[in-house]
Symmetry: D2
Subunit: 358 residues, 4 copies
């Protein structure tokens, strides 16, 4: 089977993350979308009629006339499904697909904390994908579930990975200024955010205080069964404040870190610039190019100007400076529905294919 013919489907296709999947999969060199699945309300309609499209990029032609199908293994004949399902629904449906032999690349949070489910940023922890072997063995699945992290954890973890490799990260203070698209559509009411800030996002702080620890954790294989492999949570402490601001796309995070081996901002900047993805994750279709971009201007990164760096897959860092309490301060920007959601899941799927784990 040629890679250009891998049949894939999108679950939750009509929502805002679903739309991003459809847009990013247009002309994908390896994947061909064969089904768009959504809730009962949409099933049987042409996608162009079922979906209120909210992206700037127009709806790809391939999707317009596809008829929406139910999100069940019986209705979706694909090797990979990209899941933009709500968490409660994902919890039920994703295992059914995995059981039926499909690889589920999920944006939902339902399985991120399971020990045998990779929580994956290929440019950070590509080797964690090996957990799918354990997953299949333990659960008796021929398919699998791969997850990508919360959209705020994403850029933060990429930047921390580079610093952790070089200096050892001990403590992380992070305050997010998050985009509206992270709440889905219709999501945040305009009356709540014009001329305003909402200083809380339900459940977000807990996720961002935990998920990076798994992704930055060590992958350990043991000889004795079972299980033969696991991820040891990184020994770091996080304190997070999450805020919603009037930005369409692009999460900005203000970060202060304490390092095991303190350094100066210039050295840290050089380390961030030089960071590259693990070998297996560096030359995939969705690999960020570069993985990290460091901006030198005093007032960057900014979401409107920088979110599409590297087609929205690059993590943009700026304002590296000394922190008066910990060691370093900086700002991280990442596109929340591309790198932080749909683009991330697609990148995960590419790694799965590349590792011959499909």
């Amino acid at each position: 089977m040629s890679q250009s013919q891998i049949p894939v489907a999108v679950l939750g296709a009509t929502g805002s993350v679903g739309q991003r999947f459809i847009s990013l999969l247009d002309n994908h060199p390896w994947f061909k979308v064969v089904a768009l699945a959504a809730s009962d309300r949409s099933v049987g309609q042409k996608f162009s009629e079922a979906c209120r499209w909210v992206l700037n990029d127009s709806m790809p032609d391939y999707a317009r006339d596809m008829v929406v199908v139910p999100a069940t293994p019986e209705s979706v004949n694909a090797k990979i499904v990209f899941s933009a399902l709500h968490n409660e629904i994902a919890k039920d449906l994703e295992p059914q697909f995995a059981q039926a032999g499909t690889a589920v690349c999920s944006n939902a949070s339902s399985y991120r904390r399971e020990e045998d489910v990779p929580l994956l940023l290929p440019e950070v922890n590509a080797e964690h994908i090996q957990l799918v072997k354990i997953q299949r063995e333990q659960r008796g699945w021929s398919g699998c579930i791969l997850t990508n992290p919360n959209c705020t954890s994403t850029g933060l973890t990429v930047a921390l990975k580079a610093l952790d490799d070089a200096f050892g990260v001990k403590k992380v203070f992070a305050v997010s200024l998050q985009a509206l698209s992270g709440a889905g559509y219709p999501g945040v009411s305009s009356l709540d955010i014009i001329d305003n800030v909402i200083p809380n996002i339900g459940g977000e702080e807990e996720k961002v205080e935990w998920e990076p620890r798994k992704m930055l954790g060590k992958y350990i294989e043991t000889l004795e069964p079972p299980p033969r492999a696991r991820v040891q949570l990184a020994d770091m402490r996080f304190s997070v404040h999450a805020n919603r601001v009037a930005v369409i796309d692009g999460h900005t995070v203000c970060v202060s870190v304490e390092l095991a081996r303190p350094t100066d901002p210039e050295t840290a900047e050089a380390i961030l610039r030089a960071y590259s993805a693990p070998l297996s994750a560096g030359e995939l279709p969705s690999s960020p190019r570069p993985v990290i971009q460091v901006r030198e201007e005093a007032d960057r990164p900014q979401p409107r100007l920088d979110r599409l760096t590297g087609k929205g897959m690059t993590t943009v860092v700026g304002r590296l400076r000394r922190d008066p309490i910990l060691d370093l301060k900086f700002v991280v920007l990442s596109h929340n529905t591309i790198r932080g959601a749909a683009g991330g899941s697609i990148y995960n799927a590419e790694l799965l294919v590349n590792e011959n784990l499909l």
Copy 2:
């Protein structure tokens, strides 16, 4: 002289902070505006013609027909001048007024760090106003200069004061989401902030990392001359990130603190609620009522909904919770051009009058 007849003037009257002074001084029970001063470009014009009014409240009638005068002691015959001048101009002009016998209540940063100049939030450090005696003696002035802090330091310092009194504050991590009016008019270009965040405000972080230490510092009188009194900087460390967001008025600050005597969020909340201003500052016309309001909702304070609490003079605090690295996390909101600028200067002037230091 009856208090209702104290003649006052506004310097820099046409700018956005100048306008706020004019609005807040309308029908003030003690002060009567006798002069509006601005730059040469405006001098000689009626105020209503010289000024592009940007506040929601309409221009007070008393100001409309006043003719703008130069910002010099010769042209301004007032006991108190409220200074909304730019820092460089303030640096030159304010001492001329103090020398000429006028009390200068300044919103400029030029003299905040001078040892004999009070940096004042009456509900926090009313006794620091006694420094004006030293100031007059040392500088030979019959007038004086009083300053109010940077608008982001303001609400933060009020909240920290209550916590410091009760538990001792050691370290403060603060990330601001600041309103546009803080940059003056025209200030921030709309092209820079619609669908965007600017993750830097020049000079702001340094101010907020230092100013609270002076305001929370101990006022010490010594018997030996000179000087006989000074403020000892508080022994706290601050790390600040400053951001500009698309909000008209109201600075939101995410804060994490380390305490000398750790406590739980409920106790801290009770302490914040119970905080009251020093006796001399509690019953003035501009005294915040209450000094601190604690919101219990999970997503408050919000700038659009809460900035006018206590006529814009109250500090609003919410989301008290444990911090995984330090001790407590919370959110502070303060109206940046009322409590954080014009209203603060007027409150300072009222304290000066009340302490018989005019």
Copy 3:
């Protein structure tokens, strides 16, 4: 019964217009709120718990602890009910209240087009309130239904009334730039309006092309029964385009008019300034003061700066100039949830009381 003791209730109290009613009725000189009614979901809860408050003004104390009741005549013991119900619900419920003897002052559109129901702007067509006598006779009600117009029709009609009286209005082109609060809460998704305009509002154009014709129509009494009175639609033609823009409160309307007796902008401006309400409507608690304000600046009215003119009850007009196709062009601004909704209904109720029709 003293006027200060007229018991009133709000139906649909938790929505955005309901909240505005509650806010405007705080300390009303004639009315006392005795019940807050809402949907089943809220019934039995304290109002402060049932309602997500979205106004800048904080929730009045009187409302906080009131227990929400069902919106039925049995549960609501008031002489007047203010209806912020959705149209379909209003259609069923409002007649039940009228039947039960209550005066319903409604913001819903359900009964605006009924021949015996006044569509009322007291400063425009106070005498139309006499239709309630016909309504009572025909329907056998001891109560009645009074309606206020669509929020975009409101300011437009006030301005047209002054011009029609003086010059005769023949044709009206009107393009609205409408605020978000007009769509209720949650209403418009932030993703649909940040950095955007929505060039349509369902059903709005038809309303604004018809409602002013009724309000500007002639009230005719006939001796022969039945009916003995009716309103003859004004002989004017309207063309309306409706747009939603990123404004919290305040509808801006660009208007061009053709007059039966053409005039110049200066004369029209003088006529607008001089316009006063009919005698019976001029001195009520909610009477706009002034009815119309004409701004002379080249770039006013603006919603953020002018919407609260006359406590949000005044119609603000600006940019009077010649129209190259018709006769005059101008801009009208009116606060859509005060004059255009809750404030308008309260004003209607005051007129009812004043005319001894309660």
Copy 4:
């Protein structure tokens, strides 16, 4: 000389329209940027240092290290210059370039009304470019000046052209909701537009009431000298209201038209869809593809979603419906800094080359 080697320059390169020129000329198939010119303040600096870049697309690499030169014929050795100069400066400088043999493709309004200067939208009035022959003869220039219209006139005129060809346009009522980028950078203060509308743009209404008449006018050649050719203004009347709204890019215009031969919305829609550019203008690198897109959704076009249709060169029309006073109502959207400014000038230059008039 191969077309790929035509040397061009940008005058006013650091402003927002100048930046758009630089972005659109990146990898242009015919033109090569050889100079970036700006005001004295920037001369001698590297472009990346002289310019505060405000576009979402990042600064093209070719421009980063170019040294900014003065905007004089001596300093700029190009066959074509794209002028993003302010009108007063353009008035002086553009003739100097034309005199020196350079073709000036100008976005400034200074020469739009000159009888021998083409005001050009190639998809509308390509033949008007022949006026440059008269211009050269009359003024003794070897170069020339070509102008593109005001950004609000642009989309409006494209839509009117299709309707005028088919039905004859008599009267046009147009109300604009214009984007912020039309005011340049820094342009509109954020304090003036967040939660607001500005119902006036200086000089704009006059331009939009006149410019379409020239572009839709008839090109007439006469045998008797001089001049041998001229444009007869179209016999149409326009009434325009101009508004600024909180949108980054994309002007929305609500239009009502009276036709000489009235038609129904469906027929008009078909005519708009079928409209194609004149032969000489249809296959150029910047030709809009399609010229006009008609959206069928009830709430489109919207600036955020539709402004980049056809790479920002397409005119998007929607909401075709009957007008109760004139004949048809509809909404037009056009990207103001691409089709309405820089992209338009480049398209004009391509037509000049294609017509062998360079």
